[in-house]
């Protein structure tokens, strides 16, 4: 079965920029490991407004649906999906920038 390539994945316009080997620090980390979609997205929607404009939230998630759904949520809600980084224990750290 075809599957989207695993993380890290970046937005096309950023793929030219150098990516640090470790995920950069973020303003907030939401631990949604072990939670099934849509819970990680509900947690993100609940908490994104607690960080400043332009700040980045990291969502830790291991439900495969989150890998597609958090970037899709960003597109629908006009926030920015910065990048997704694979976690050593499985799952991803999915970085989202608050746009408004």
């Amino acid at each position: 079965m075809w599957r989207r390539k695993p993380a890290p994945r970046e937005l096309p316009q950023e793929s030219a920029a150098a990516r640090p080997s470790a995920p950069p620090a973020t303003a907030l980390t939401i631990d949604a490991l072990g939670r099934k979609c849509p819970i990680p997205i509900i947690m993100l929607a609940d908490q994104i407004n607690t960080v400043g404009l332009g700040a980045v939230v990291a969502v830790l998630a291991d439900d495969p649906a989150a890998f597609t759904d958090i970037p899709a949520w960003c597109r629908l809600k006009s926030h920015e999906h910065v990048a997704s980084y694979e976690l050593p224990q499985g799952g991803w750290s999915i970085h989202v920038r608050r746009n408004y």
């Binding site: 079965m1 075809w2 849509p38 509900i42 929607a45 649906a65 759904d69 629908l76």
Partner: protein
């Protein structure tokens, strides 16, 4: 119960039921035998073949009946690859093909072949340029593209892919399961697969068509049935019923497809108006007439199906919690659209406009209640 899952299977067409019952009595003998009863069954089988071939735009001797659409796909893909072994071992598929195509590709990969996957746009459509570039790579044995996507309804640029394949000298396998009987088959295929129960025929009948001159070799042990393309004794009564259903569907298609398409337009337009935070998925225009998919933010797909079932609606979902694999649909993933809270509505022939209106009436409250239970207001 309002049945809105025609893309999984279409209810048996009355013309198929009538043909099936008649053929059960007269179509049981062995069509390979030369005595009278055998010859009569051979005649029934070949008449069905001629009808199906004409509607699908094939020659009768290019068409074989299989025991399912999935078997037709497996034979089409693996037989197409086997026939082109000397040309190369590279298989090109779109990322949103039916799992039967991708599983056949998996067999090819385990056999030492390579599989190149062409991605799709956010509408689910393959870019003709990307597909053309992939088939032009040296060593390409076969390319696969569906006529229309089974989960989101988007039509694929099959005619353009066919031209690119012809220019590259690569045969094109086309999975027409979702569109056969609803839309004309686009030109450009070398090998074609379809499934009778998707157009209102009985289950257990698939169609495999191999264009004259296309190299194809069965991946199965040798068998004399169906021009040596398909093993096993033909289910002639079911084949006769499948042909009757296809003939009836095509005769009704112009009027019924337009009616279903208008109902789909209504769902596409009304769902985002009635339900907040919904993404309607797939191409709004270049699409199947009867199918629409949408995803509701902050809603679990399984809960949505359960509640809709309680309210009397049979629909399907590509969300992971509804799949045996607990993975979201590879189609939704490849498109990069929301995979949770997903609902696929596919309208069967003769569905009433009232059922669609009732669906639009109950959906907003169901979504609201599920969101409320998850603490989303």
């Amino acid at each position: 119960m309002a049945y809105l899952d025609a893309a999984s299977t279409e209810p048996l067409h009355p013309a198929a039921r009538e043909a099936l019952l008649a053929a059960l009595d007269v179509g049981w003998a062995d069509p390979a035998r030369l005595y009278g009863s055998g010859r009569r069954v051979r005649l029934l089988l070949d008449q069905a073949r001629a009808e199906v071939a004409e509607i699908l735009g094939a020659r009768a001797d290019e068409v074989s009946f299989t025991s399912s659409g999935t078997q037709a796909v497996h034979l089409g893909v693996l037989g197409g690859l086997a026939g082109r072994k000397r040309a190369g071992r590279r298989l090109v598929v779109s990322a949103v093909e039916h799992s039967s195509v991708l599983h056949a590709a998996g067999v090819h990969e385990r056999d030492g072949g390579s599989v190149e996957t062409v991605g799709v746009e956010i509408t689910g459509r393959v870019s003709p340029a990307a597909f053309a570039a992939a088939v032009a790579e040296p060593g390409t044995a076969l390319a696969c593209l569906q006529t229309a996507n089974h989960e989101v309804g988007t039509l694929q640029p099959v005619a353009e892919a066919g031209e690119a394949c012809q220019a590259a000298g690569v045969p094109l396998f086309v999975d027409a399961a979702q569109s056969a009987g609803r839309l004309p088959i686009p030109p450009g295929w070398s090998i074609l697969a379809a499934s009778a129960h998707k157009w209102g025929g009985p289950a257990g009948v698939g169609v495999l068509a191999v264009r004259k001159g296309v190299r194809w070799r069965s991946p199965y042990p040798e068998d004399d049935r169906e021009s040596r393309r398909v093993p096993g004794f033909e289910n002639v009564p079911a084949v006769v019923a499948a042909a009757a259903a296809l003939r009836a569907r095509v005769a009704e298609a112009a009027a019924e497809s337009a009616r279903l398409s208008a109902l789909v337009d209504r769902i596409r337009h009304e769902v985002p108006r009635l339900v907040p935070d919904v993404e309607v998925i797939g191409d709004p225009v270049e699409r199947l007439p009867h199918l629409v998919t949408f995803s509701c933010l902050y809603v679990e797909g399984e809960a949505l199906l359960t509640e809709l079932d309680k309210a009397g609606f049979a629909v399907s979902s590509g969300s992971s919690c509804t799949a045996s694999t607990l993975r979201p649909s590879h189609v939704l993933e490849a498109m990069g659209v929301l995979t949770h809270g997903n609902v696929r509505v596919s309208l069967p022939r003769g569905v009433s406009a009232d059922d669609v209106e009732r669906f639009l009436t109950v959906l907003p409250d169901i979504v609201r209640r599920i969101r409320h239970s998850l603490g989303v207001h």
